[in-house]
Symmetry: C2
Amino acid sequence: MSFKVLGKCPVTGARRGVLTTPHGKIDTPVFMPVGTRASVKAMLPDELATLNAEIILGNTYHLFLKPGMEIIARAGGLHRFMGWERPILTDSGGFQVFSLAPLREITETGVYFASHIDGSRFFLGPKESMTIQRTLGSDIVMAFDECTPYPADYAAAEKSMRQTARWETVSRDCKLCDGQQLFGIVQGSVYKDLRQESAAGLVALDFDGYAIGGLSVGEPEEVMFEVLDWTVPSLPEDKPRYLMGVGTPRQLVEAVARGVDMFDCVLPTRLARHGSAYVSDGTTIPVKAGRYSADFTPIDENCACYCCRNFTKAYVRHLLNVGEISGLRLLTIHNLYYFLNLMRRIREALENDAFAEFRANCFYRI
Amino acid sequence: MSFKVLGKCPVTGARRGVLTTPHGKIDTPVFMPVGTRASVKAMLPDELATLNAEIILGNTYHLFLKPGMEIIARAGGLHRFMGWERPILTDSGGFQVFSLAPLREITETGVYFASHIDGSRFFLGPKESMTIQRTLGSDIVMAFDECTPYPADYAAAEKSMRQTARWETVSRDCKLCDGQQLFGIVQGSVYKDLRQESAAGLVALDFDGYAIGGLSVGEPEEVMFEVLDWTVPSLPEDKPRYLMGVGTPRQLVEAVARGVDMFDCVLPTRLARHGSAYVSDGTTIPVKAGRYSADFTPIDENCACYCCRNFTKAYVRHLLNVGEISGLRLLTIHNLYYFLNLMRRIREALENDAFAEFRANCFYRI
């Protein structure tokens, strides 16, 4: 077994685990920084390692378009291409095909689509996605799914979930490289029976791990938590659970409490580029705002990141104000540290049987 | 004496020296990365220290406009504001007032100008420039000068040089902070007698160092070298000589051969942002070009920078091609390493009495 549950919270559904991959072990619960186009935006691999990022995510759709699979294959896979020696999870491309690409035509074997970059035509289905992810050489491969849009009425959600189920069955039958693990993705929108049917179907296929997709797509936060409450109990105890594309710091803690082990989200890197920094109450402050122009304190007095140890809000605000790249770099470092450190604190709390208390107190106003 | 010549080339005019400042020693010949707006573009202070940058340059004009002197003063000076603990040289602002600001009116006491950012009106003269640089707390302060445009006829060059001479006299009489060194700037365009008159006038004022300004402003390279041949012999042996805004790798070596000790230039950082990387023959290659898309060799096989040790042209080209910040970061690291390492090799050659041979062979095609 590549996944091992090391301990469970006595109060909530949270667990502490370790996932073994060809490129190393991952301590869970874990947050995966997003490296869409073979780069976590504004970061270099050695900085990610310094921040103790144990795994990053790559996007199949973007890498398939640029630089394309021939380049990645000749480079010897995504790890070698981008100089990242730790584990990588790649998504299936399905989400981006459905959210970014225009001119889609969906067939039983996959999706015809136009590149959002130059309009050229491509086809992506479960077989193609598995072939691409085999070439990428990711440690964790995601089955090809359709991310059901929100809101979807019951009939549409059911049809979409069934399509996903068939594509995931095809994905499961594809050959991967030695050591590559394949995760299935639960869909079913906000409908309990569809989520449970989706989960049961995937469990029957015995995936190496189970993702929960189609959340954080516009639904209220309570609905997201409710879907987790319905779905997680349908998944095996001994396999990792991955909540895709989530979320805010509070959502991470709440999802961990519901038994989720893995997360990815663009929030820390994207908000950094928009000039916002995460602070102790779990929200962000707009460091670019004029009110910080003479604030000579760090973004967070209690933060041990490179930015907070060395620079003031006034300096970062100046850099953002004049458009210096260093400004968004410092916020990216801070925000990623914030997310990765939050997960470290969650793991520590779990190890000390103190997660329930941590959950109640981890976000506070200074 | 804060400057000491440690040794001289037996063949050329090159010398190896050390300049002592309140923030540490600088080994000369030295290249100073440009940190216009309190940031060397795309770099953070710890990376510059890793590259062995011993001193950086800040721009008075830009810092005066943003964040403004009140912020810098309250931060405790430029070093503390930007978290850089090594030496800083600041220019006088004269060059930018004459090259960037619209609506100028020149008077005997200085220049009225409009900010290039928002059009608000300011006045900058020698007294104001010295006050600003005292607030910045730079280790090396530049006297206020007019950078004579190129081409300038003799009468215009003479008038401009005389104006500079009067402003530099005023600059010399201003009070600086303990430890701050003041450098005069030789002007006189491409006219031998004007350059020599300018130099003689400055030497009589006994500056801590002497800069050669008004070069690399459009004149042919041979003219630049000719001006150096005329000017350097008029400057004292025991004071540092700084060639402002220069230059290409070949120009650095040639200027060192003519007795120059200090340089600053935006070329390594600017060309990085344009997708170009310096290589062994002293020129650049356009890494962004499609012909590198499947080139799995480093930018320079012999380069020991972080970029060349870890990444291929194909990867850097991909990052530049899709607009990832990491791409220009890697090229900035490479180009700054190239310039700083070139200076290190120059110093090493001087220490080994081998500079003349180094000068003849340092740029080669692989």
